[in-house]
Amino acid sequence: MLQLIHNENVKIYRRLRTWIFGALLLLAVIAMAALTDKASHSQATHTSWRQELKQENQQLQQTLDRSGDKLPASTRTQLQTQINENQYRLDHDIPPAKNSAWDFTNSAASLMVLVTLFAAVVAADIIASEFSSGAIKLLLIRPVRRSKILMAKYAASLLFALALIVELAVAAWLVGGIVFGFDGFATPYLYADTSGHIHQMPMFAHVLSTYGLKCVNLLMIVTISFMISVLLRSSSLAIAISLLLLFVGSTLVEVLSNHTWVKFILFANTDLTQYMEGTPVVKGMTLTFSIIVLAVYFVIFHVVSWLTFTRRDVSGNG
C-alpha cells in the first residue's frame, strides 16, 4: 500500500503543474504580507492603545445612541460586540493584536481558498487523467486489487492537500515573522460568543482551529472532486466540474437560503465557522446537524467512487 501511495506521489510531484501551484501559493502569501504591511503603515498613530480604544468606544457608543434604531439589528450587534471587546481589553490589560507572525498566519488562512482550488484540481485529475491518457490499462493489470489503487490515489490527493496546508502555514509564519516580527505568541485571541460575551483563547489554539475548520471544507471538496474524477473519463471535464462546484456551491446556497431544504445541501454545511462566529445559513442548523450531513455525504461520495471504479469496464476509446 505504501508503495502504491509512493507511486501516486511520484506522478503528482514529477509534474510541472504541481510546482506551479506551490509557487503560486507562496506568491500569494508574500503579496498578502506586502498589502497588510502597507495598510498598517497608513494607520500608524502614536497615541497609546488605551486612549485609542477609549476614543473608539465613545464614538461607537454615540453612533449607537443617536441612530441605533435606524440601523439593522445585525449591525447593532456588531457595534455592541466591538464595544464589549474593546472594554474587555481595557479591563484585562490586553493590547489589540498588532500584526505579528501569528496574527498573519491566522489571516493567511483565507488563502485556504487557493489550497482548496489546487487540491481540487489534483484530485479531479488523479483518476480521470489515467483514463484519458490510457495509462489506466497498464496500471490495472498488476497484481493489486482496484480498491487498493483507489485508496492509494485518494490518500495521495489528501497528502497533496496536506502538503499545501503545511506550505501555507509555514510560509505565512515565516513571511509574517520577517515582515512584522515573530512576537505575538503570548497575545491571546478574543472572540465573542453568540450572546455577545467576550472570551479569550491562546493564539496558537486559535490559529489551529481556524485552519482546522477550513480543512473540513477542503476535505469535502477533495472528496467530491475525487468522485467526479472516478465518474468521468476526461480529466479536463472533471477539473472543470469540480471547480464549478467549488465556486458555485456557496453562492447557490446563499441564493436559495430562504428555503429550509437548503440545509441538506453539502455546501450549506462545509463552512463550520458559521457556528463559531456569526449565524448559520438556515436558522435551526446546529454543529451536530452539519457534522451528520457532512458525514453522510462523505460516505456517499466514497461508496459511489468505489462501486464505479471497481466495476468499470476499461474498454477502448479512453
Binding site: N7, K11, G134, L138, I141, D313, V314
Partner: protein, 309 residues
C-alpha cells in the same frame, strides 16, 4: 501438460450484441499463439477479459489454474501484457515508468530493470521523457513493462503497430526466444495475416466474436506437395528434364514452369535442371498460405457482415 491459459465459453455481451461469443481456447507454455481476425472481430475484447480490464458476461479465463475473476491477483501475477497501445506516463522518463510498475510487483530490483532495458534495446533513451519517444520506442518500453516481472504468460495486442520492418523482425526473435527458451506462453493478436504466419506456432481465426478455426502454422508440411515455380532460360529443355524424372504435370507460361512438388524434392529438381544446362533464375514455392486459409474460412461471411452493418 496443463494449459498456461484456459479459456472456456468466454462471452462478452454489450447490450444484446455478443462481441465475444462462447470462445474456448487452450494456450500452452512455450508456444506463440495468434489471435487473427478482421478489425472488430473481438480480439481486443477477448484480451481485455483475459487481463481483467473488463467484466466477463459468461464463461471463464484461467491462468495457470487461477480464475481471473475470483483470484485476480494470483492469476494476473503471471501475466505481462500490452493492451492496444502501450500508454505510459509521458511526463516521466522510461526508467521512472518502469520503476512505477516494478513497485507494484514483488522482488523487482534495479538489476532486473536494467536487464530488461538491455533486452529491449532501449539503453540510450531510457532516461529521457516518454513524450520524446517515437512510436517504436514506446513499443519497446511497452514490451519492457510487460516482461519486467518475468511473466509466464505474455499477451500482446497488435504488437507490431508502429514498428519498422527491422523492429518487427526483432520482436519476432524476442517472442521466439521467450517461448522456446523460457517456456513463456505468448499470445499475440493481429489483423495482418502474413505477420501472424511468421510469428506464431498456432493461430486462432476469429470472426464476429466466434472461433472459426485453430490452425497450426509452423512446421507446415514438408512432405506435402506444394506449388513451386521455376524461372529458367530454356523452358522446353527444362520441361523435358522434368518429364524424365517423372514430373509430368507441369504448366508452362513463358519462361516459368509451375508444378506440384514436395519441399524436400525442390533441391533435387534444381540439381537436375542445372546438370542439363538449364539456367535457373528463381525458385518460388507458392505455399497455400494462412491468407488463403483465412480467406477461405472467413471470406464470404466477412463481406456479408460488412454489408449487413
Amino acid at each position: 501438460m496443463p494449459a498456461a491459459v484456459e479459456i472456456r465459453e468466454l462471452t462478452k455481451t454489450l447490450g444484446r450484441r455478443p462481441v465475444v461469443d462462447h470462445l474456448s481456447l487452450d494456450i500452452q507454455p512455450g508456444e506463440v499463439f495468434g489471435l487473427l481476425g478482421p478489425n472488430g472481430a473481438g480480439k481486443t475484447t477477448t484480451i481485455r477479459m483475459m487481463v481483467g480490464l473488463i467484466s466477463i458476461t459468461h464463461g471463464h479465463v484461467r491462468i495457470h489454474g487461477h480464475d481471473i475473476r475470483t483470484e485476480f491477483e494470483e492469476a494476473i501475477r503471471h501475466v505481462g501484457a500490452i493492451v492496444e497501445n502501450p500508454e505510459m506516463y509521458k511526463f516521466l522518463s522510461g526508467y521512472d515508468n518502469l520503476r512505477l510498475y516494478a513497485r507494484m510487483h514483488k522482488g523487482i530490483g534495479k538489476d532486473r530493470i536494467d536487464e530488461i532495458v538491455r533486452f529491449v534495446g532501449l539503453e540510450s533513451a531510457i532516461h529521457k521523457k516518454v513524450k520524446t519517444y517515437s512510436l517504436g520506442m514506446r513499443q519497446r518500453l511497452g514490451l519492457a513493462q510487460a516482461l519486467l516481472h518475468n511473466p509466464s504468460v505474455l499477451i500482446l495486442d497488435e504488437p507490431t503497430n508502429g514498428l519498422d520492418p527491422a523492429g518487427i523482425r526483432e520482436l519476432r526473435d524476442h517472442l521466439r526466444h521467450l517461448a522456446e527458451d523460457q517456456g513463456v506462453a505468448v499470445i499475440v493478436s493481429s489483423h495482418l495475416l502474413t505477420e501472424m504466419e511468421l510469428m506464431c506456432d498456432r493461430v486462432a481465426i476469429i470472426q464476429n466474436g466466434r472461433l472459426v478455426q485453430v490452425q497450426t502454422v509452423r512446421e507446415q508440411a514438408h512432405q506435402e506437395a506444394q506449388l513451386v515455380e521455376f524461372e529458367v532460360d530454356a523452358a522446353d529443355i527444362a520441361r523435358q528434364v522434368l518429364a524424365d524424372c517423372g514430373q509430368t504435370e507441369v504448366e508452362v507460361s513463358g519462361q516459368t514452369l509451375r508444378l506440384a512438388a514436395a519441399r524436400d524434392d525442390i533441391p533435387e529438381i534444381n540439381r537436375r535442371l542445372v546438370e542439363h544446362g538449364v539456367a535457373v533464375y528463381a525458385i518460388q514455392s507458392r505455399t497455400k498460405s494462412l491468407e488463403d486459409q483465412f480467406l477461405e474460412v472467413t471470406g464470404g461471411g466477412q463481406h456479408a457482415a460488412a454489408h449487413s452493418q
